[in-house]
């Protein structure tokens, strides 16, 4: 089996899994869900690292890769931190009342 064929199966299965999982997320958490999924797809940083660190990188591709690393790692950090900041606010009962 070709590698891309294998990849297509992975994509299909992951997309269906994503559908099933996300359908169960309470509407209460739709905003943090979006920031979390943003942080997850910032895994693109891996691609940026590979392109920037490629042995054959030219001046152009190195700088493109560098900019991609900046953008993606910004998303990783901001995405996870803001998701956590939002989730910390969701409390079942007010703490000061018994």
């Amino acid at each position: 089996m070709q590698s891309y064929e294998f990849g297509l199966y992975v994509f299909m299965l992951a997309a269906f899994l994503g559908f099933e999982l996300v359908k169960r997320v309470s509407p209460l958490l739709h905003t943090p869900l979006m920031s979390l999924s943003n942080a997850i797809s910032a895994i693109a940083v891996v691609g940026g690292i590979l392109v920037t660190g490629d042995k054959d990188a030219t001046e152009l591709t190195r700088w493109l890769g560098f900019t991609a690393v900046v953008c993606a790692s910004l998303n990783v950090v901001a995405g996870y931190l803001i998701t956590d900041r939002m989730l910390r606010m969701f409390r079942k009962r007010e703490p000061e009342k018994k």
Partner: protein
């Protein structure tokens, strides 16, 4: 050595991402999900760094700059600005994918299936970048939030997209000429702008969710270009999350994707609404409103975008406290498209420390309205318009709404009688059991709170 371990690391990271999304289904486990997602990401990044042979300094500086901008952004951004921040991060994420695609193109000049994936990656990446920037500008009110339209708009937009696709197919089918990739890039960037310009503020929840999905699919396409399964899985998860959210948003507005993207909703209705006549309404002062609330046993608050604009959520929390102390049952009814992004209202009310078990979604709470003494509408409009149920000629007919009109008394805090985003007159305001509370949401609620404190 690392070449052998890396696949295992990527596999673990994929498990982390899947669990992160799974645990988001419940506020009790959601934070655990964030932690496992972070661990997955950390593993993948460290593993990848071990594989890299050159340019370490540049990579670390890049990560450092990103983190140095990202961290303060996440901590300092006020919660009301979350839709803008989300739009911005879609732009960054998509730009990263597009740039990596561009670099791969010039580095390896791939062909066949890989080139097709690369074209998809850069097309979606670049168009999502500019589209998200326009969405950001609209949300930040750097440009008008109403839809900007011109004759032949859809024709021009789809023409640009078609041109981009044709150039893309030419690059996949043969050897790309030097002009092709830059032209492809320019057309993709241009289409992103054209896509969002005609979309109005109230449709932003759908558009933001859709752009989220595009950014995810771009990342997945990158996974095919780099032959990296982790990227494919992460991208697919993000892509399906965004797609589901935008489907939910469309359903909540009773509209189709094509209608949101090409319908230029607001424009249409503003023209139709020009004929409305002035009709009498009943209004009340803060102390009258306070007296009615004081004698109620159950209250449902319906927040909308107006609450976010007025930053009224903390005052509403004071009102919630004052009423609960009197033994009055207070709940919140959240319409799926209230605000500017999915879940916007929940985040603001949670920020104001209102317990999340009091925030109820439309289907859960609609049955309660007939047994409710007071429905208090704060900054919401179209989502409580009873015309959606009754008037077949109304453009919003069929849209699921919160049944505020079925409560014994309805109070609406609103700045003036101007129609809402859809430009449609709201029947709710003219009903016999409706009281209009004219004023700024924050000031009015704080007036009621003061009145309640005084009478105690």
């Amino acid at each position: 050595m690392i070449e052998n371990v890396l696949p295992a690391i990527y596999l673990l990271a994929s498990v982390g991402f899947i669990l992160a999304v799974k645990w988001m289904n419940n506020p009790a486990t959601a934070r655990r999900g964030v932690i496992i997602g972070e661990i997955g990401m950390l593993l993948a990044v460290i593993g990848t760094l071990l594989r890299v042979q050159s340019n370490f300094a540049m990579i670390f500086i890049g990560i450092g700059i990103g983190a140095a901008i990202g961290a303060p952004l996440a901590y300092l951004m006020p919660m009301t600005a979350v839709p803008q921040l989300t739009a911005l991060s879609h732009a960054f994420g998509a730009l990263a994918s597009a740039l990596i695609g561009t670099a791969e193109f010039y580095l390896r000049g791939p062909h066949g299936f890989t080139m097709a994936a690369l074209s998809l990656e850069t097309l979606l990446g670049y168009l999502t970048t500019t589209a998200s920037i326009i969405a950001f500008a609209k949300l930040q009110e750097l440009m008008p939030t109403r839809p900007l339209t011109y004759p032949g708009q859809n024709f021009v937009s789809l023409g640009v997209l078609a041109a981009a696709i044709i150039v893309g197919v030419m690059m996949v089918a043969g050897t790309p000429a030097p002009w092709m990739f830059p032209a492809f890039t320019a057309l993709s960037l241009l289409f992103g702008i054209l896509l969002v310009i005609p979309i109005g503020g109230a449709d932003m929840p759908t558009v933001i969710a859709l752009l989220n999905s595009y950014a995810g699919v771009a990342a997945a396409a990158m996974g095919f270009v780099l032959d990296n399964k982790l990227l494919i899985i992460a991208g697919a998860l993000n892509g399906s999350a965004g797609l589901i959210l935008s489907i939910i948003m469309c359903k909540a507005m009773n509209r189709s994707f094509t209608n949101v993207l090409f319908g230029a909703f607001g424009q249409l209705q503003t023209a139709a609404a020009g004929t409305t006549v002035q009709r009498p309404v009943r209004s009340a002062t803060p102390d009258e409103a306070a007296a009615i609330l004081d004698s109620a046993r159950s209250v449902i608050v319906i927040p909308g975008y107006g609450m976010a604009v007025a930053q009224a959520q903390h005052k509403i929390r004071e009102l919630y406290d004052a009423l609960t102390k009197r033994g009055i049952d207070v709940k919140f009814a959240i319409h799926p498209v209230a605000g500017r992004m999915p879940g916007h209202m929940n985040v603001l009310l949670a920020e104001a420390d209102i317990p999340y078990d009091k925030l109820l979604e439309m289907d859960e709470i609609n049955g309660d309205f007939p047994n409710t003494d007071v429905a208090l509408v704060i900054g919401a409009n179209d989502v409580v318009n009873p015309l959606a149920r009754t008037d077949k000629t109304s453009p919003i007919y069929g849209t699921p709404i919160l049944d505020a009109d079925r409560a014994r008394t309805v109070m609406v805090i609103k700045r003036s009688m101007s129609p809402g985003f859809a430009g449609i007159d709201n029947e709710l305001y003219y009903m016999n059991n409706t009281l209009m509370l004219f004023g700024d949401a924050k000031n009015f609620v704080s007036g009621i709170v003061k009145e309640l404190a005084g009478s105690h």
